[in-house]
C-alpha cells in the first residue's frame, strides 16, 4: 500500500493521465491537428505505465540522484525537512492569494514584511527597511515606470 502512495507512483500516474487526456481530447480533431498530440501522447502513456509498474515493484532509495539534475538537500532530518517544505509551499500559495486579494503592488510589501517577521523572525529595523525597499522596487519600477497593468485586489471590489 505504501508503494502505491509514493510520489514516483503519483508522478507516473499523472503523466499517464495527461497522455490519456491528450488522446481523448484529440479524438474529434482533424487529422493534422491530432497527429502530433497522438504521436507524442501514445509513447508517454506506454512509458508512464512501465515507470508506474517499476515504481511499485522495484526497490529504489527515495532521493537517489542519478538524473542529470540537481539533488535536494539530504542533510536535514526528514521530519523537519517535510515540515519546512510544507511551510514554504503554503507561503507561496499565500503570496498568490494575497496578490489576488489586495493586488500586486500592495501584496509585495505586505508579503515581505509578514515573511520576514514570522518566518524569519528578523529584527524590526531590518524588516522595515527591506519592506520599504521591496515597495520602492514594486511601485517605482514596475508600477510607475513600466506601467504594468495590475488587476485590482478582490477586497477592494467589496465596498463598491
Amino acid at each position: 500500500m505504501r508503494r502505491l502512495l509514493n510520489l514516483r507512483f503519483a508522478l507516473s500516474l499523472a503523466a499517464a493521465c495527461v497522455a490519456g487526456y491528450a488522446l481523448y481530447a484529440s479524438w474529434s480533431w482533424p487529422f493534422r491537428t491530432a497527429l502530433f498530440p497522438r504521436v507524442i501522447a501514445l509513447p508517454i502513456l506506454f512509458l508512464a505505465l512501465i515507470e508506474l509498474a517499476l515504481s511499485v515493484w522495484s526497490i529504489e532509495r527515495e532521493r537517489e540522484g542519478h538524473a542529470v539534475d540537481f539533488q535536494l538537500t539530504d542533510t536535514v532530518e526528514p521530519a523537519l525537512a517535510r515540515k519546512r517544505t510544507i511551510a514554504i509551499i503554503i507561503w507561496m500559495l499565500g503570496f498568490l492569494v494575497l496578490i489576488l486579494l489586495v493586488g500586486f503592488p500592495l501584496a509585495v510589501p505586505i508579503f515581505v514584511f509578514v515573511y520576514l517577521r514570522i518566518a524569519g523572525r528578523e529584527p524590526w529595523t531590518l524588516t522595515i527597511v527591506l519592506t520599504a525597499i521591496s515597495w520602492l522596487f514594486m511601485e517605482g519600477l514596475f508600477n510607475r515606470f513600466l506601467h504594468l497593468p495590475f488587476p485590482e485586489g478582490l477586497i477592494f471590489g467589496l465596498w463598491r
Binding site: 480533431w29 507524442i40 508517454i44 540537481f70 524569519g120
Partner: protein, 503 residues
Amino acid sequence: MLDAFIDGLYVVFQWQTFLMMLLGIFLGFWVGLLPGLGGTTTLALMLPFIYQMTPVEAFAFLLGMHSVVATTGDITSILFGIPGEGTTAATVLDGHAMAKKGEAGRALGAALMSSLIGALIGAFALALAIPVVRPLVLSFGAPELFMLAIVGIAFISSLSGQGGRALLRGILAGLLGLLFALVGQDPQAGVLRFTFGQLYLWNGLDLIPVLVGLFAIPEIIDLAVRGTSIAGELPGENLGRGVWVGVKDTFVHFWLTVRCSLVGTFIGIMPGLGGGVAQWIAYGHAVQSARTSEERTGFGKGDIRGVLGPGAANNSKEGGSLIPTIAFGVPGSSSMAVLLGAFFLQGIMPGPDMLDKHLVLTFSMVWTMVVANIITVVISLFFLNYLAKLTLIRGTVLIPFILFLAFIGAYTSNNHLGDLLVLLAFGFLGYVMIRCGWPRSPLVLGFVLGRIAENNFYISTIRYGPSWALRPLVLVLIALTVIVLFFPFIRFKGRELTGGEVS
C-alpha cells in the same frame, strides 16, 4: 571585406557612439539582472528615444543594451537560481548548484569569461561567414529546420543520466515537454488544443513562467528546507577567490567553449529556431563532454562545463541572430523583431545590401556586441567578489525577495494572473520531478522545440511530399541525429562498472 571589418570597429569608438553604447550597457546590465525586466520589452520601450540619433549611435545604444542582457542574466541564474532572462535558464542547473557548494565566484567568473569568448567567437565567425551566409541561410528550408529540431530533441538521451530507468524518465520528460509545447491554437486548422476554455492559453504556454517555475521554485523550496544561506554553512572566505579559478576554467575547457560558441552562432543564424534553443543544445553538448558515466551524473550538481557551454552559446548566438534580421529582414528572435522596427525608424532597409554596400554599419553592430561584452565582463569582474557574497545572506531574508522576483518575472511575460498559475504549476512539477529523479532539462528541450518540429514537419510534407526526407542536407542531419542519439551508449561502452537500474 577586411577594410569594412576594421572600419566597423573604428566607428564604435567615436565618442558619441561610445557614449551611447555605455548608456545602453548600463541599462542592459540591470535589465539582465532583474527577472521582471525582459530584454525584448526594454528594447521596445527604448525605441522612441532613438528618433534623434544617427543610425550608428542608435544601434550602439540598442545593441549595447541587448548584448549585455544575456551576460548579466547569467549572474541572477547562478546566484539565486532564477533565470534572469528566458535565455539564461540553462545556467541555473550547474551554476546555481555551484553557488550552493560555495563556489559562486568560480561559477560567475566562468559564466562571464565564457560569455566574452562566446561573443568574440560569434563575431569573428560571423565576419568570416558573411560571404557565404546568404546561401547558407537559404539552403535551410523547412525540412532542414525540422531535422535540426529533431537533432535537438535527440540530446535528450545525453541529458537523461545513466541506466535504462534514467533513460526512460528522460524520454518521458522530453515527451511531456513536447506535449506542453502543443498547447494553444494549432496553425494547421486553427483548432484550440488543450486550452480548457481559457483565453490565456490560446497562444500557448509562455516560456518565461514555465522556466522560472521549473527552476526557481524547487530551489526556493530547497533553500527553505536547508534553513541556511544559499552557500550553506561553508566557510565564507573562499567564496570570492574563485572568480579567477572560473576564468581559468574557461581556458582549461577552451575547446568546449569554442564548440558551444559555434553551436550558438549557427543556431542564431537560423531564423525561426528562437532564442531559447541555443543554450539547451549547448548544455546537451557540454554534458556529452563527460568522459565517464559518473562524470555525467555530476552535471546538474555543479559541473563547471555546464556553466561554460550555455554561457558561451548564449552570447555567440546574438551575433548570429543579427544575420537573418539584417540580410533578409526576417528577425531570428523577438528582440530582433523589435530591432527591425529600429531599422525602419533609421531609414535602413534590411536586405542583401547590408552585407555589401552597408557592410561597415553591419560590422559596427557586430563590434558593438563584442565591445559591450568586453566592457561588461571587465567591469563585472571587479564586482563579482561582492556579488558572490550575496550567497551568504540568510535564506530567510532572501526568500521573500527571490519569490517576489520569480512572481513578477513570470507575471511580466503576459501581464496576466494566469502567468502566476503557470509559474506555480510548473514549479510544483519541477519539484516533484526532482524528488522522483526525473530530469528537467529534457522537458525544457522538448518544450522549446515542439512547435518548431510540428510546423516544419507539415510545411515539409505539404510542400515537398515524402521526398523531403531525401534532400542531401536532411540526410546529413539524420546521420547527425543518430550520432547524437547513440553517443552516450557508444562512449561509455565497456567502461561500465555498475549495471543498469532496471530490474
